[in-house]
């Protein structure tokens, strides 16, 4: 199983010369399963380039949305395969007692925010709330679970053979909790990320920025590393970069994260910052997991 990062930015697209290396597109990860089929994790603006990379032949695609904040769905109406009648798209997302997934997404894909309506999309599109139990897509077993963020929000785990990928891009597990002392079962997202080969996790804020953003639904670098350590992730990719963080700032944060990881006994290559366009192997366990106690 391989993952390609099509959008690594959080909150709002941030194009410009100061973000050109880590990227300015918002959340989207393409996952190629062992049988060659493709999943898209989130549909931020990064999904536009994912769509452009796909051949124009009949395709069935699954898009797994963590939640419906704009930075995770904004690319849907610019996703080229959605405008091809030969494409079948299944969109998965969190259930809500308020309205169906289709109706909630249609608030964005409708006037005046969008030039097209959901019913006008030429592709065969369907919407499904994620089930409480594990389900299968091709050779992969998929799990979704609610995680600590603002509004109904999911994290995903994809197991394909020996490979496992946990994707929790918007997550504040340390809200009102001490991640270093809390029992495993009381940590948001723990069941998804436990012993994952590859963990793609929220790392939006520098530690110094977090106090001013308490409760906004995101992690500091330290919290993301604590979560990775507690869950025993093999390789951790810090994701959902703050739109105010330039490449230079992210270089510093990445070096700081690796130093901290090394300081607690890890190897530097096991922690990295997400770079738009990067391709990751979900099989690689870059380092032995750190002691979780």
């Amino acid at each position: 199983m391989k993952a390609k990062l099509w959008g690594t930015r959080g909150s709002v697209p941030s194009p410009g010369p100061e973000t050109i290396r880590y990227g300015g597109n918002t959340s989207c990860v393409g996952v190629t399963l062992s049988d060659g089929s493709l999943l898209a994790l989130d549909a931020g603006t990064g999904i536009r380039n994912l769509g452009l990379s796909l051949p124009e032949e009949p395709t069935r695609l699954h898009i797994l949305l963590t939640h419906l904040h704009l930075d995770h769905i904004q690319g849907l109406v610019f996703f080229a395969p959605a405008f091809r009648p030969q494409t079948e798209i299944v969109i998965w997302g969190p259930a809500s007692p308020e309205a169906s997934l289709r109706d909630r997404i249609a608030r964005y894909i409708s006037a005046p925010l969008s030039p097209v309506e959901v019913r006008e999309l030429p592709c065969d599109v369907s919407f499904r709330s994620t089930p409480e139990t594990e389900w299968e897509i091709g050779p992969a077993r998929i799990r979704a679970a609610s995680v600590s963020h603002r509004g109904p929000t999911l994290g995903y785990r994809i197991d394909d053979g020996e490979d496992s990928l946990a994707y929790i891009p918007d997550h504040e597990p340390a809200l009102g909790a001490d991640l270093d002392t809390l029992e495993d079962e009381w940590i948001s997202g723990f069941g998804l990320a436990r012993d994952a080969s590859l963990l793609i996790h929220d790392g939006q804020y520098a530690d110094s920025e977090y106090p001013d953003h308490l409760g906004w639904g995101h992690s500091s670098i330290s919290h993301a590393l604590s979560f990775a350590r507690r869950t025993g992730a093999g390789r951790t990719v810090l994701f959902h970069h703050d739109p105010l963080h330039s490449d230079e700032r992210l270089d510093l944060l990445g070096a700081e994260a690796q130093d901290r990881w090394v300081a607690v006994g890890g190897t530097p290559e096991a922690v990295e910052l997400a770079v738009e366009g990067a391709e990751l192997d979900a099989h690689t366990r870059a380092a032995s997991p750190l002691p979780t106690a």
Partner: protein, 137 residues
């Protein structure tokens, strides 16, 4: 989706909130099993959650009660937390509880179910010192 190694998020968030409150609060899971009480509740009972360990319903009743005005133990099925989980509705009661050292406390307890898109996840109860006129059922 709760997994075998993790509590449902709604219970996690409830525990996090309760941990920050100075009001005694108790949390049960969807099976009615007590899974947490906060520091304020620990002060009321004279034993913290971390100190208590696993306690069955019978032992809990012997240690802490609750007891009705007649001094008799209140049946488990009538406790507000149990009613909230079982019947998916809020419940309220006045009763007496005992601290581990035998100190008696008259309290009012209000419990409400934790409802989610996937059904009930458990219930929360908060305790207050009983009003002088003993309102409540």
């Amino acid at each position: 989706m709760p997994t075998a190694s993790q509590k449902p998020l709604e219970l996690i968030l409830a525990r996090n909130l309760m941990s920050a409150l100075s009001t005694p609060a108790f949390l049960v899971d969807e099976g009615g099993i007590l899974v947490f009480y906060n520091e304020a509740a620990g002060m009321l009972l004279g034993k913290s959650w971390e100190e208590l360990g696993t306690v069955g319903a019978e032992e809990w009743g012997a240690l802490f009660g609750p007891f009705g005005r007649d001094g008799e133990p209140i049946p488990y099925d009538e406790l507000p937390l149990v009613v909230a989980v079982r019947d998916d509705r809020p419940a309220h009661a006045n009763f007496e509880i005992h601290s581990i050292d035998g100190t008696r406390h008259q309290v009012e307890a209000s419990a409400f179910p934790i409802q989610t898109a996937h059904g009930s996840r458990g219930a929360i109860a908060v305790f207050w010192p009983a009003a002088e006129n003993g309102t409540g059922s």
